[in-house]
Symmetry: C2
Subunit: 272 residues, 2 copies
């Protein structure tokens, strides 16, 4: 299974987490070795790092662990290939520009029938690779495009409405855990995932919020964030809990919106 | 002045050139310190590295010098800011997807009136940053979009025709040296550039082709390419000659198309 991780915070943080550790926590050792990627927002644009190799073997991962950029929003993905060859074009996260902002998408799951689903057909955005995940992203942006004609971000509720419908259609096709950011907010959709008991069931994502007082010690090395002196609020979302504390499983179909370390919107899950 | 560099080759090469050296060669020391970027094609997609800091101070540049990916097409840019703040979004090269391929653009020059030029107005592509260069890229893709509706790349001649018209319009606005790649071919447009005599005049780009026999030594360390045993043909295009030999100045308005180290199309320059 692939692994997803997102961090949203009120202050720019230098994410020093180990991608290898993330991959190792998520499943049997060595299964998620087909690529890795991480997108760091800087304003409306993104510094994107991806490689179609195992994170454990990557010099670039080691570089980022010590020198990655500070950010208030990062999305990371570790790939276990289910569709599409092992190549850069099939390595997540995927990015596209819409409305003058760089949008980022990462998916964990399997949507084998998506290319035949008429309501999820492609518009102006075309996949560069062959994955179901990138097809889903292109279809999502096609639906979002009309909202982004103005100067600023569309109303949050409008975006959540589009996402809820989109996510429900994905769930009908297969496991559809995803992270999506549009340069304004982060959206996370939890579904189901292959668990240690061998069954594909919820939770597909876990969420954790942490508030750290000014001048307090952000003793949060377990989640791999550099210690900060400022008052900081942060939200983590991941495929599996990365620390022992405070993680809440997202329900099946739950959709959360996050900005600057605060949960600003939430649509409850459904039974499907 | 900004600095441009492109390499197209018949075999994947590991580009070990020093970005610092490129910046230092191009102009007075310390002027091009506002950012750097390099795009490495891998199939139809691109590994893009950019930072809004001086290349000389960058740990990422040092990482890429020793561990950058092998590629048959790379485009690099060193920024001296003329329009737009120093930020990631204003750091070239810029990338967008069109027709299921990642397109790359880098510009050296100054086009202050581009946003008021109706024929170069934006279509579906919107700039993420504030530069004239990204505006030009978005306008170019808007013109190219109708050509890319089919499955494969459009006819080369059609693309050259669009580019020639586009480049002529840019030249009317200011210095317009640019590199553009569409996942199939590399295009280079030479115009004029601030020379050591203090005047903005041609050449704005230089071009060099080199053929290296099988099992011969590619003694090309001056251009910073790793030694290869295979027979290799390569084309370099740069703001200034990077070695002592074989560089030809591109004429004012000349447009060259390059694929796999071969020049596959050329439109001569004009007097403007």
């Amino acid at each position: 299974m692939c692994e997803l991780l997102a961090l949203s915070s009120s202050q720019p943080l230098r994410l020093t987490f180990s991608l290898q550790a993330l991959a190792a926590r998520g499943g049997p050792a060595g299964r998620s070795h087909d690529g890795w990627g991480v997108a760091f927002y800087q304003g409306s644009d993104v510094a994107l790092f991806r490689e179609p190799v195992a994170a454990a073997n990557s010099n670039l991962v080691r570089h980022l662990e010590s020198h990655g950029p500070a950010t208030r929003l990062a999305i990371s993905h570790i790939r276990h290939a289910t569709q599409g060859e092992v190549s850069l074009a099939n390595t997540q996260p995927f990015v596209r520009e819409l409305g003058g902002r760089t949008h980022v998408f990462a998916h964990n799951g399997d949507l084998p029938a998506i290319s035949g689903r008429k309501s999820l057909s492609l518009g102006d955005y075309r996949p560069v690779g062959q994955t179901d995940s990138e097809h889903a992203f292109c279809a999502l942006l096609g639906r979002m495009a009309s909202l982004w004609r103005g100067d600023g971000p569309p109303r949050l509720q409008c975006r959540l409405t589009v996402l809820a419908t989109f996510a429900a259609e994905l769930r009908a096709l297969g496991p559809a855990n995803f992270l999506y950011a549009d340069g304004d907010a982060l959206f996370a959709h939890g579904h189901r995932r292959l668990q240690l008991n061998g069954r594909a069931e919820p939770p597909g994502l876990w969420i954790r919020q942490r508030r750290c007082p000014a001048n307090g010690e952000l003793a949060d090395r377990g989640a791999g964030v550099a210690v900060k002196a400022e008052s900081t609020t942060a939200v983590w979302i991941a495929s599996v809990p990365l620390t022992e504390d405070e993680w809440r499983p997202m329900s099946c179909g739950e959709l959360a919106a996050v900005r600057d370390g605060e949960i600003i919107g939430n649509l409850p899950g459904s039974s499907t």
